[in-house]
């Protein structure tokens, strides 16, 4: 169908890029979620006033372009501090914090969605703060937070396309390298787009399904 100069080696090159996309996504979402949960719980526990510095710090990651975050972090660590750190490490670090910033909001929103009356009932039965958190808040908040979290994870996967700026060759960058060499932009871009779409679309659908199902049950 397509008359293309694309070789098996080129396909492998693309596949390696795709692998990098998934690897960075996995690390960022994993670390970011852990940090996000901690930040979110802390932010909720201390209240808006004492939580202000944390909120301000996290808000920065949501208010400036990720591209600039990556460039700045890279410049800061390598030239200002003078560490020898790979672009991969910088990319994972920045994306983790970026994920954590959004995740903290989702977590806080989830906890706030648990009615105070339910929690008071739990405490009045003699449950400790920890028991209340794990047996009451966690399951209820998860229902609220999970669909948003799925959206966040997919968003982070799409945003990994920006780590090219710290010399990490992920899927879109690999595609672009091949475009420059083979001069077949449309065909290559379609392959690349299809990869993102095939991962993102079903998971997004699943998230939407969960959201609907849980809304209907309430």
């Amino acid at each position: 169908m397509f008359d293309t100069a694309l070789t098996v080696n080129d396909l492998l090159f693309l596949a390696r890029g795709a692998g990098m996309t998934l690897l960075v996504t996995a690390i960022a979402v994993g670390l970011g979620t852990l940090m996000g949960i901690v930040f979110g719980v802390v932010r909720y526990q201390v209240g808006p006033w004492w939580g202000a510095p944390l909120t301000f710090f996290l808000d920065i990651f949501r208010s400036i372009p990720l591209l600039i975050q990556l460039v700045l972090a890279n410049a800061f660590v390598t030239t200002v501090l003078g560490f020898r750190v790979s672009g991969f490490t910088v990319a994972c670090g920045v994306l983790s914090l970026y994920t954590a910033a959004y995740c903290a909001e989702i977590v806080r929103g989830g906890i706030e969605a648990v009615p105070q009356t339910v929690r008071r009932a739990a405490r009045s039965l003699g449950m400790s703060w920890g028991q209340d958190m794990t047996h009451i808040v966690l399951p209820l908040a998860t229902r609220v937070a999970l669909p948003s979290w799925i959206g966040l994870a997919l968003g982070v996967m799409k945003d990994t396309s920006l780590v090219f700026v710290v010399q990490v060759v992920e899927l879109l960058k690999s595609t672009q390298i091949l475009i420059t060499r083979l001069q077949e932009p449309l065909f290559l871009l379609l392959i690349c787009g299809l990869f993102y779409f095939l991962i993102s679309f079903p998971i997004a659908r699943f998230g939407g399904y969960l959201e609907k199902k849980w809304l209907a049950n309430d």
Binding site: I64, L67, L72, T79, L81, I179, E184, L186, Y196
Partner: protein, 221 residues
Amino acid sequence: MFNYTFRWNQALKSLPQMLEGALVTMEIAILSMVIGIAIAIVLTLFRLSPLRPLRAVAAVWVEIARNTPALFQIYMVHFGLGSFGIHLTPYLSLLIGIAYNNAGYLTENFRGALTAIPETQTRAARSLGMTSLQAFRHVVMPQMLRIAFLPMTNQMVWAILMTSLGAVVAMNSDLYGVANDLNARTFRTFEIFAIAAVIFYLITKTITISARLLAARLFRY
């Protein structure tokens, strides 16, 4: 370990240039939102239409916008259209790419907002003799835009952040592009991008705060 000397003066000298870039960034974001909202309203109508092909157009648009990176979408506009012989300037490629993305996400927001408006509103409007388009235009849409106002604000912030992606299609007059060019000439990477970051931060904060004030004025009901 800490033997780096900051040279803020040199970077600050380029501040006027960067502020000019910031204007271009805001211009693109605003235009892309205006276009995006207009298209999203049309796509929302498509979604409600009884005609299958129209619903399909809306669905494909929304799903591609939401399930591929924005950077990919800009590439598609610039290089993808290029292979059909349509060569756009970096400015146009970036604008169209962001507008495409905005329209997709906003259509989804509008759909969510629509579910919150009871069917009886349309019914009441129709029983007063309004056509279905009049009922949508005068009764449903204003309520939809109110509910979707906060998501629209978020999308506006996204549009600002997305302008930085213009660098990949050699856009150099927006804030990120200007910073990028300055960096290539002076190598004061940290200082220049730190200033750019502060400007971006101020722009996005101004948007969210003024949106909140605007909402209070606009929606008194």
